[in-house]
């Protein structure tokens, strides 16, 4: 499996090279990444060789996660850029610490009328004074993405994995909403690229490209929550970790809730078992506990996961659809808990 993926990655790289025009392509503009200010166009950075944002430039590498955040069934394409000659290092918690000048780039899109279309590309830029998150929205012609600090709603019709047609008002987050998830102790940080959540082939790629210093210890991976072969408990916890724990941790936006959903959390009540709501308001749905063991239909966590109502729905931003597969997984997990 791993070899196949590596071969696919190689093919993509090969394709990119062969498709490149003969004139030299300008490299990623390091100065634009590190300078103050907010570039108006995505193309100002030079992350992509083509105007349509599909072919990463030299030094911009596609990467994969074991478990990914649900965003309205959007396809996501993730890239890491580390300035030439520099490396990310792994800290004691298994988080990747990127050098100043690095960027994380994530494009979101759907297959619409048989064609892959990009809606938005979010960038995280590591500057001398910290990380900054900026959202860029693609034009209808798919030739440029422009900065929309205030975010935007885009009507989208697409076919979900079950084959159903979905009409949604897709929400591109505003700059502050980026921070709501990408926040630890009030500072913007990357959330996806953790050692335990990077796919094997991605780690191999980062190491072989010398973009990452070889870590001095192992960081056991969390499973892919969609992998039914893995134990239910760890799949459910992986799902909560990647979808909820950016806010629901002791240093995150939802720190005041007392509900902490990181993969490492050990206290049952902080994971939600027998935990009463604090500031849930009508989000409680009339239920007593975040998780009522054995009773998913009596659990606030399920109620909020299955709701589309603002003020009830969790996460609060970035979701206008219910993730049916995710809800089914968590429902199964709660149902299996001893009452």
């Amino acid at each position: 499996m791993r070899t196949v993926l590596a071969a696919v990655a190689l093919c993509i790289a090969g394709f990119a090279v062969s498709a490149a025009p003969t004139r030299p392509i300008a490299p990623v503009d390091d100065a634009v990444i590190t300078a103050k200010g907010m570039p108006k166009k995505l193309s100002d950075f030079g992350f992509f060789k083509d105007a349509s944002g599909w072919q990463p430039n030299k030094g911009v590498e596609l990467y994969r996660l074991n478990s990914a955040l649900f965003t309205d069934y959007a396809e996501k394409y993730r890239y890491i850029y580390v300035p030439a000659g520099q490396q990310a290092v792994v800290d004691d918690d298994g988080l990747l610490q990127f050098p100043v000048g690095s960027a994380l780039i994530k494009s979101f899109g759907y297959e619409i009328d048989g064609q892959d279309r990009l809606l938005e590309t979010r960038v995280l830029l590591h500057r001398a004074d910290g990380w900054i998150a900026l959202p860029y929205v693609w034009n209808a012609e798919q030739t440029e993405a422009v900065l929309k600090v205030a975010g935007k709603r885009v009507p989208v019709t697409f076919t979900d994995p079950s084959g159903a047609t979905r009409n949604i008002s897709y929400a591109v987050p505003n700059k502050n909403q980026c921070k709501e998830c990408h926040s630890l102790s009030g500072a913007v940080v990357p959330i996806g690229p953790k050692m335990r959540n990077l796919a094997h082939d991605t780690l191999d790629m980062l190491l072989s490209n010398a973009m990452l210093e070889k870590p001095d210890r192992d960081h056991p991976p969390i499973p892919d929550y969609a992998d039914a072969a893995m134990p239910l408990e760890s799949r459910a916890r992986a799902y909560l970790d990647i979808n909820c724990a950016h806010c629901h941790n002791r240093q995150g936006s939802a720190s005041n809730s007392g509900l902490f959903l990181t993969y490492e959390e050990e206290s049952p009540v902080h994971i939600g078992v027998g935990k009463r709501p604090v500031a849930a308001g009508r989000g409680s749905g009339g239920f007593q506990f975040a998780i009522a063991p054995g009773q998913p239909d009596q659990s606030i966590l399920m109620h909020r996961l299955k709701s589309l109502e603002p003020g009830v729905a969790m996460p609060e931003v970035g979701r206008s659809l219910v993730h049916d597969e995710g809800a089914a997984l968590l429902g199964e997990w709660i149902a299996a808990m001893e009452e």
């Binding site: 929309k148 929400a171 502050n176 005041n256 009540v269 009463r276 500031a279 009339g286 603002p310 609060e316």
Partner: protein
């Protein structure tokens, strides 16, 4: 004079030189124009809201320090979230030294205005309202500062919150002064917080008027040092409309002031009139919990110099009616569950002691009697809350 001058100097020094005013008018694309202004504002700037109704489709947020958001008045500049499609609140503030004043937030789907980790925040002459009156489908909190130090809420109006109109949680150094809280489940609630003054507010038509609570399993627990003084707490008899599960859903309709699982709370010089269950209730947290660091009992609660009107004529808890009958038709002005320690009542009113002996015991096991205290009790006055001069100056 010298003090004013010093305050003015402090204010000038803290303002960056190029501070500017960014005016945003109501009208088409209000969402994008206002959100963009809040994002592009720089420290020291004023974002000025024109008069009119801003029809918004998503939550707004502010994450820049030292910004003032100022409207033309709480009845003139209205942020309407009736058409909100996303976000957990109308306006979210996550930066320090922010002043919010003279505008309204209406009909947000979740909370009205939330400020999280936003130190030295001032809410002045803000109105947060659910315009359809009290309903379970209204958002939870109107004005909602949480996890912060130095909070001032003054001259504001909150109405219709399905939890608390003004809710200060897990914070320190707090003044809630001269506000009006009407037709919320809880008018004003101070929860898991240290050092707060709730003074000179009009609290009426809520389910419970002013609540001082501490809850388990939260990052900040051990609420203490709360002064509830010189408030008018009148006819808080609205049926509880909180969604079940929320802790305030258990507050009996007709509660004036409720102190639960808190320490060093002083209820003084208030006017408490026409609250159907009782004017003051002092109780332990009754739900089961698993948290060795949490004390569920009330301790050192001091009640003195209040003015009492009629109360206890419609007790809204199990066995309440029978108890009221036993006391000649109405419950006493103060109800105490008998748990914890150090309740002092210096007012010439009856205090019902339910005589519970353990936390979580149902009221059906009450052994009611009148609370006895030998003579006037003593306490030490709480230290006045002092906020940074820049905050009081922002009220000018």
């Amino acid at each position: 004079m010298i003090r004013t001058l010093l305050a003015a100097t402090a204010l000038c020094c803290s303002m960056p030189a190029a501070a500017k005013t960014i005016t945003v008018e109501a009208g088409a694309d209000a969402q994008e124009r206002l959100q963009e202004a809040l994002i592009l504002a720089e420290p020291g700037d004023v974002v000025e809201l024109g008069a009119g109704t801003f029809e918004l489709t998503d939550g707004l947020s502010l994450d820049v320090d030292q910004v003032t958001v100022r409207g033309a008045g709480m009845d003139k500049s209205i942020l309407s979230f009736a058409g909100q499609l996303g976000a957990g609140e109308g306006l979210l503030v996550t930066s320090d030294d922010v002043v919010l004043r003279d505008f309204a937030v209406e009909d947000s789907k979740g909370d009205g205005i939330k400020s999280k980790g936003a130190d030295r925040i001032v809410y002045h002459a803000i109105r947060v309202e659910w315009t359809g009156g009290p309903k379970a489908s209204n958002g939870a909190y109107g004005i909602y500062p949480v996890e912060a130090s130095d909070i001032l809420v003054q001259d504001s109006v909150v109405r219709g919150a399905s939890d608390a109109g003004i809710y200060v949680g897990q914070s320190k150094n707090i003044i809630v002064r001269r506000n009006t809280a009407i037709e919320n489940v809880a008018g004003i609630e101070i929860e898991n917080s240290f050092d707060a003054e709730v003074t000179e507010n009009l609290v009426t038509g809520n389910t419970g008027g002013i609540l001082v609570f501490d809850l388990p399993n939260l990052p900040q627990m051990g609420g203490h040092n709360v002064l509830v003084a010189r408030n008018a707490i009148i006819a808080n008899n609205t049926d509880n409309f909180a969604p079940e599960g929320n802790i305030v859903a258990s507050v009996p309709a007709g509660t004036g002031v409720m102190v639960m699982a808190n320490r060093n709370v002083q209820v003084v010089e208030n006017a408490m009139i026409n609250n159907g269950t009782t004017n003051v209730m002092v109780v332990a947290y009754t739900q089961s919990f698993d948290d060795p660091n949490y004390d569920p009992t009330p301790r050192d609660v001091y009640v003195a110099d209040n003015v009492y009107g009629r109360a206890g004529f419609a007790p809204d808890f199990e066995g309440g009616k029978q108890l009221a009958a036993a006391f000649g038709g109405a419950l006493p002005a103060i109800v105490y569950d008998g748990l914890g320690k150090g309740l002092i009542v210096n007012d010439a009113v009856q205090v019902l002691n339910l005589g519970l002996t353990r936390v979580g015991q149902p009221p059906t096991e009450a052994k009611p009697s009148l609370h006895r205290q030998d003579g006037a009790g003593e306490t030490v006055a709480l230290s006045p809350i002092v906020l940074p001069a820049s905050m009081e100056a922002a009220l000018k």
